[in-house]
Symmetry: C2
Subunit: 475 residues, 2 copies
């Protein structure tokens, strides 16, 4: 009904066997539901090349690949031959997979993906090698980190002190796992600095597949394009605002510790690590250092040179920013790198420099929301159809239960079998088998809705003909 | 494997017939994929009551109902008995459904949902009754409206002048259709002013099902809660910025013309209508009036009284705002309602008053993004499984093609039939039929991936036993 022109010729093939009914309007739609195509503001934004028939029923390939890759990353397991030293279990976590190169000499930290046996959820666990907790007071700042909830900060979930699973006494910090998140370093300096971590088993790169796109986001010759840099500024300032407002300092504002998830979502990682390794009560001073570090990160991203904030290069780098970016960006970086005369700066002071760019960021987020809602609308009935089909398959063709009236094909379930034939065993006029997804989807939808439309079922020998409504079939 | 405790007892029932294999790790995951559960930052935010087993595979009911209702609204048809005067076709649009009460006396405008026969997409069309276009110059501002793209402005797509379909000469404005969008008036003043439009056929309310939630968003006794009001401020200012930057004025900043879609997405509607009905070249003056109108809308929402900006009530209303909202909100409304000494104000001037609230708005948007991505991850494999199952069903049990070796059950396709039995016709130890969705999902996933795992298929008479890998079955 949705595309009368394309489907009519196919449906006409069966006119000799089945009735074709044209409805001027749906009299009763209770429960019946099928995806009606995108709303215009979504449809119009989509590239035309993917607007084929299949796309209307199933998810668009770009979004799908992104989500599938994330799921695969969560599913990955470590090969015990490649990693013989990996413990089977660390406290209540198992299925450890290293997320960075391990077995480096003198490593003081290592990071793993692990599954909690308590809730079955995948977490990221960071081990501080041979770090002994002597007083519970050491763990105090971590309690504040655990309570800090911000969408741009990797959530700390749990701290395990004096863990013996690795053969020493380690501290284990349990964070949320964000599959396929890259560090800013890998994403934007990957080609210069070696590109991420290779999976020991499959040889697949465990870091994001998106790094190929990084080159699109680089300006000719050098740094990150301005709109993306502002998006990073907004998200990093959001994270630092939350951290500083909780009386903490990140102390990890660094290209290698800031993660990018998906296309441009920023996540500040390693919360609490510095508080444990180097306790310091001068929080205000540390917060100032966070701002300075943010300035260094932005300068590196803008110039495409990780060392651009070095004392001997900073002047040259600022000239580059002045020539290639807006004056707002230049002023922002100058402000962050400067030492304030009063000795005090606040992350809130950069808000006026961001200004109207908040609106662009919000608009981007809202557009992605609309797109995801549309994709979800397409997919949500597939789950339902899959369940119906599974039920039908469980019922039909079970000759071993012929004697049991509730299961045999001689009772009501015979109807279901005939319906199955009707749905799937369509033939063309010349008797050739024919598969028509539109017919399958439509019939199953009507069955699920139990609409009052009648369907004419023919038994295999052609001798019996039963007319039954979808509503009756459903019972 | 994901939930070893709950599924093991069920799987053990089949141990007499099938081999149970325990894999310490997946050797090869190419193509094989099944939803691994939410990432922790999603899982933890979800209410615990819905975290049952079924929820892990299928979409969460809240999101589903919202999307299903939108699809149903797009699908709705008008009953020709209730609406005998409705034209069958208006230019290239058909399937008209009135979105507001029609047949009112002296109505000068009416709004319909309609499907374009050009692209099959549903649009919202607004008819200006008996309005004749005499000069193409009248349509000039509408061209600018068509080019204006903003996520908080309802997109104008097309203008049809001198349309005769309604028996007079009307102008038809074609906009994007946002299913189940409410006006601010309906959403927040619905109980006082009569609640929306009743569907002529089903008696179902065509306006959003969410209006029940409106009461949660009302402060005790009166207006909208402050965070929601700020969200409206940010989105409305985003819309007005875009409109004003294009040299236009909305002239429709009114409780009845501002739409709310879903929970809190704002859409400014009726773009261009005023430009057509009352052309005016004093755009700057009209933009000032937009700001004043925004002030009136906010005051009405804050006080819960649609007439709170009336000259005799405005003082009292401002006192109410001062007592119940932050001083930023009071200052914002004062600024919008005041007449500037220089005679000029800009929508950009309200940005500093919004301040850090941009961050909250962004965080909300990002959290919804994460949630939608997670829902999509759950659903996306159901579409794939549904397609595989449809293919299997199309192949098996077609005795009429026994003589054709490419179709008959005696050839390779016999294996598929046995596999179907294996997947769906599981029995308990005592021979009773047993349906296990986990088994079905797992088997189909392995088939799709063509993994090298061997499966033992038994023919119906029990005489033949075939051991075959999923990879071979797939061919």
């Amino acid at each position: 009904m949705r595309h009368p022109q394309p489907t009519m010729p196919m449906r006409c093939l069966f006119i000799s066997r089945h009735l074709v009914k044209l409805y001027l309007f749906l009299q009763n739609t209770n429960g019946s539901f099928s995806y009606q195509g995108p709303v215009p503001h979504i449809g119009k934004f989509r590239p035309k090349s993917v607007a084929s028939n299949n796309m209307a029923q199933f998810i668009s390939p770009d979004v799908k690949m992104e989500l599938v890759h994330r799921q695969l990353a969560m599913e990955a397991r470590a090969d015990p031959i490649v990693y013989p030293d990996l413990p089977q279990q660390v406290e209540h976590f198992n299925q450890l997979v290293p997320l960075e190169q391990i077995n480096q000499h003198h490593a003081t930290q290592s990071v793993f993906k692990a599954v909690s046996i308590r809730d079955g959820v995948t977490y990221c666990i960071r081990r501080l090698h041979g770090f002994r907790i002597s007083s519970p007071k050491q763990l105090q700042p971590l309690e504040t980190w655990k309570k800090l909830v911000n969408v741009n900060v990797v959530q700390l979930r749990e701290v395990i002190a004096n863990c013996k699973a690795f053969g020493d006494s380690s501290v284990i910090l349990v964070y949320d796992y964000h599959p396929l998140a890259d560090s800013l370093k890998t994403r934007h300096f990957g080609r210069m600095l070696g590109s991420g971590f290779i999976d020991g088993i499959t040889g697949a790169k465990m870091s994001s597949q998106l790094s190929g796109h990084a080159s699109n986001q680089m300006q000719q010759g050098a740094g990150v394009v301005e709109w993306l840099l502002w998006s990073y500024v907004i998200q990093l300032s959001s994270a630092l605002r939350a951290v500083h407002a909780n009386g903490l300092a990140s102390r990890c504002v660094d290209l290698s510790k800031i993660l990018v998830h998906g296309k441009s979502k920023i996540l500040l990682s390693c919360g609490g690590v510095a508080d444990l390794l180097a306790p310091d009560t001068q929080v205000q001073q540390l917060q100032m250092e966070d701002l300075h570090a943010l300035g260094r990160v932005l300068l590196a991203l803008a110039t495409g040179n990780a060392f651009s904030a070095r004392r001997d290069l900073v002047q040259q780098s600022m000239t580059y920013v002045t020539n290639h970016y807006s004056s707002d960006m230049k002023n922002l970086i100058s402000f962050l790198l400067s030492s304030s005369p009063t000795g005090r700066k606040s992350i809130n002071e950069i808000m006026p420099m961001i200004g109207a760019r908040f609106y662009s960021q919000l608009e981007t987020a809202q557009m992605r929301n609309d797109m995801l809602e549309n994709e979800l609308s397409k997919e949500l009935e597939n789950g339902r159809l899959f369940r119906i089909l599974s039920k039908i398959n469980t019922i039909v063709e079970r000759p071993e239960h012929n004697l049991d009236p509730t299961w045999s094909e001689t009772g009501d379930r015979f109807l279901i079998k005939l319906f199955r034939d009707y749905v799937f065993h369509q033939v063309t006029e010349s008797g050739k088998p024919w598969m028509d997804m539109a017919h399958i989807v439509q019939c199953l939808n009507k069955l699920d809705a139990g609409v009052s439309e009648k369907v004419q079922l023919v038994s295999r020998d052609g001798n019996n003909l039963i007319v039954v409504s979808y509503g009756d079939l459903r019972r």
